[in-house]
């Protein structure tokens, strides 16, 4: 196995009394898309910022590209691309000027930057916006520009913190397509997200984070197989009758989860479970049968939903 680009052992981040990241271990290997999946406040962004060598670690050890972020911050950052959760483009400047200034921070020659800008604007589908001011651009365009900016120095590792939060579905899919292309081109990606579909689509491997700790680690399908049933039957009941109905559902599935708005039956055969429900004379308002997702894995491991 090739040497890991990022290695964390007992990695911890404390803010005063609060422990945001609590002794986590993980390795990111070259060429993979590695995800941190978890709800807001799970410690994903704090972990990202430590990897990006902008936030000092409180405890444990962290190696990034074979270097120590504490001692070699500038040398590590020279080889990273960072796409922060909140776009921090200079909105008064043009698309090109944003890329130029950023490239100059890396000490790149202007001719080299110009060459890179041509490629990156094509990649980000912003060629016609080269000289537009950033401020009026759409959220999706700004996010693509931030990604293009993160790629200006041809980084060995691209770090994306919640890349599609706040984007509409169409913009999300376009962005996923671009990230998928990067993955195909061999760029190592680290992605944080609280969207399970994003994690399933993009990540080769991921860790599920909750309250600063890693709850599970593996490939998306592997995690689902390990921690959930093959299928799920979702049942919705009229308001006020759910508790009573849930009691009558006992024994129909491997596991039953009662959420505020629906009951989940974990089973390997959802259609058969649905037939069993009907046979007991239970009539839900709505029934959905589906495959297990990472959302179910998270629910099984933590007893809570990813998005509250």
């Amino acid at each position: 196995m090739p040497e890991a680009l990022v290695t964390a052992r007992g990695l911890t981040k404390r803010f005063g009394e609060l422990t945001a990241v609590d002794a986590v271990d993980f390795d990111v290997r070259p060429g993979e898309a590695f995800g941190f999946l978890g709800p807001n406040g799970a410690g994903k962004s704090s972990t990202m910022r430590m990897i990006a060598a902008v936030s000092p670690i409180s405890d444990g050890s962290l190696r990034v590209l074979g270097m120590d972020p504490d001692a070699d911050g500038p040398r590590i950052r020279a080889r990273l691309g960072v796409v922060p959760q909140e776009d921090n483009l200079d909105e008064e400047l043009s698309v090109y000027e944003n890329l130029l200034i950023y490239g100059r921070y890396f000490g790149m020659a202007k001719s080299k930057i110009d060459e890179r800008v041509r490629e990156l604007l094509a990649f980000a589908q912003l060629e016609e916006r080269r000289n537009s001011r950033v401020e009026p651009l759409s959220g999706g365009m700004k996010r693509r520009l931030t990604i293009a900016r993160g790629l200006i120095n041809e980084p060995d590792l691209l770090i994306l913190d919640e890349p599609t939060t706040g984007l509409d579905p169409q913009a999300r899919h376009l962005l996923w397509d671009r990230l998928y292309r990067l993955k195909q081109a061999g760029v190592t990606l680290i992605i944080t997200t609280h969207y399970m579909d994003e994690a399933e689509q993009l990540c080769d491997r991921l860790v599920i984070m909750d309250k600063g700790r890693i709850a599970a680690e593996g490939a998306p399908r592997e995690l689902i197989t390990r921690h959930s049933s093959r299928e799920v039957l979702e049942l919705r009941f009229p308001v006020g009758t759910q508790e009573e109905a849930a009691q009558r559902l006992e024994g129909l599935a491997q596991r039953t989860e009662v959420l505020p708005d629906r009951v989940l039956l974990y089973t390997d055969d959802a259609d058969r479970a649905a037939a069993d429900v009907a046979a007991r004379g239970i009539v839900p308002e709505a029934t959905v049968s589906r495959r297990s997702t990472l959302e179910d894995v998270f629910l099984t491991l933590t007893g809570r939903s990813l998005i509250d």
Binding site: R49, V54, P74, A78, E92
Partner: protein, 258 residues
Amino acid sequence: MAVPSSLRVVEAGARVYRRTWRGSVISTFLNPVLFLLAMGVGLGTLVDEGSGGADLGISYLKFLAPGLLAATAMQTGAGDASYPVMAGIKWRKTYHAALATPIGVADLTIGHLGWVGVRLVFVTVVYAVIMTLFGATSVFESLLAVPPAVLTGLAFAAVVTAYTATLKNETGLSTLFRFGIVPLFLFSGTFFPIEQLPDYLEPFAYVTPLWHGVSLCRNLALGLEFTVHPLLSVGYLGLWMAAGTWLSIRQMRKRLVL
């Protein structure tokens, strides 16, 4: 590493300015003209005809112009170190973007002050030229007053940057201008000699960095006798600048590196 990296931040400042200079061009060119017209010529005529003429020994316009140069440098330095710094930290978060690159906090802070220095040279040279056009000084003498004016501006820029980095929001900035910069502007010997102040206030004027900037600019531009040794004033301003820079790096690190 530190020197070329800060220069990249200065360069970024220049590139941003190329896009945004229109916003400050009026204050750079028009303010000195307006001030020298209203106070120097308008009010100055009254002063010169009254007892002021005898007390000052020179025309009020000559007295005022170099002092105003130092005060303008102070305002420019403080201005460029307040709202733009808040924008970099909080509103536009451009500092966070820069820190994701090889640029470090010290590079960023020194580069920011370096760019303010470039702006100060530009603003004070324009001012010196306008001052000459008004006949307040000769070209050569007015240019002599430029370096101390820039030093004054940088001393304020450094201290104000450190202060801004500690603020959660901009209300602290209006407080700074209302209770810090404006009183200094009025009472540090710009508009009248501090000997006119009540005796118990006079020592306070000597403590203010602006008074030393005014003293250097005025006496160099007019070839007058110094009441405080000029090297002492330069050293005092330099001390403010150095301490302010050190504090700025410290506060910026506290604010930006979490």
